[in-house]
Amino acid sequence: MNLVGNLASVIGVIIASVGFVITIRNVGKSKKAADRAEIAANKTLERVRYVDNVQNLSRAISVIEEILRLNRTGEWKVLLDRHLIFRSILIDVKRSATNLSDDHKAIIQDGITHSGSISHNIEVALDEDSQPASIPRMNKILSKQVEQLRDILAEMRMETDG
């Protein structure tokens, strides 16, 4: 009777140990699955952010093209609004696109600074009831900016497709 009892105890310990090992393995598997899910979620989030940045940069180019047209017609008050939108979009892109190179960030910063200077120039001209800086010069600078932003956009799109 005592032998049967001891045997049952030993078997009990063995079963408990095996169960414990299986539980530990399952916990490990669950953790790995959770980690994989987190990585996948982060990747998806990163991709969504990237697509947002591509769309925002594309929108910034549309705004600057509109600014080029409005410069020719001299709609200065509307232009001030457009410049503000243009700068806000570029600031947003520069902050959220963490994988942008320093060269690309410098090009975007160039756009923000040009737009800020042009806005200031328009504000002063409106205040003094005078003409802002030369329109061909403004459009030459902004056209160069469009070309450079298009290059960045093309590179970002290639990365998104890849």
């Binding site: 410098a106 910063q109 160039d110 600074t113 800020g116 200077s117 800086a133 010069r137 600078i141």
Partner: protein
């Protein structure tokens, strides 16, 4: 005063890099003003009337992330910091005017044009 010390250092480094052609200066909407951008800030350089001299002095402005001027100084402002801080033979006046001239040549493409013409002239003189 400590702020001018840093600005003097900034002017010194910008001069070093500009004369080597390592900074991408560009024209701005204002005649005679040039700008170079970095990842989060820009620098604008221009000539302004001097307070104590009939000759123009060079003004450098630091432009913030949002496109507004956040700091500016002239060669006159950093004059006092100069001799004690840098082993430079140039005075702030000469150095900042030199930076301005080099920035202008880089921005309008004159530096590139002169380099190319020079290289072609050298090739013509020494065809082998």
């Amino acid at each position: 005063m400590a702020a001018y010390k840093k600005l003097a250092h900034l002017a010194y480094l910008l001069h070093q890099k500009t004369v080597k052609g390592e900074i991408d200066w560009k024209e701005t909407v204002l005649n005679g003003e040039y700008q170079a951008s970095f990842s989060n800030y820009s620098i604008q350089i221009s000539l302004v009337n001097s307070q104590g001299s009939p000759e123009a002095c060079v003004k450098m402005s630091v432009i913030g992330e949002g496109g507004d001027e956040i700091e500016s100084f002239t060669d006159e402002d950093i004059e006092l910091q100069w001799l004690s801080e840098f082993e430079s033979n140039l005075s702030p006046y000469v150095m900042m005017h030199d930076t301005y001239g080099a920035a202008r040549r880089l921005a309008v493409g004159a530096e590139k044009a002169i380099n190319q013409i020079l290289s072609e002239l050298v090739d013509d003189v020494n065809p082998w």
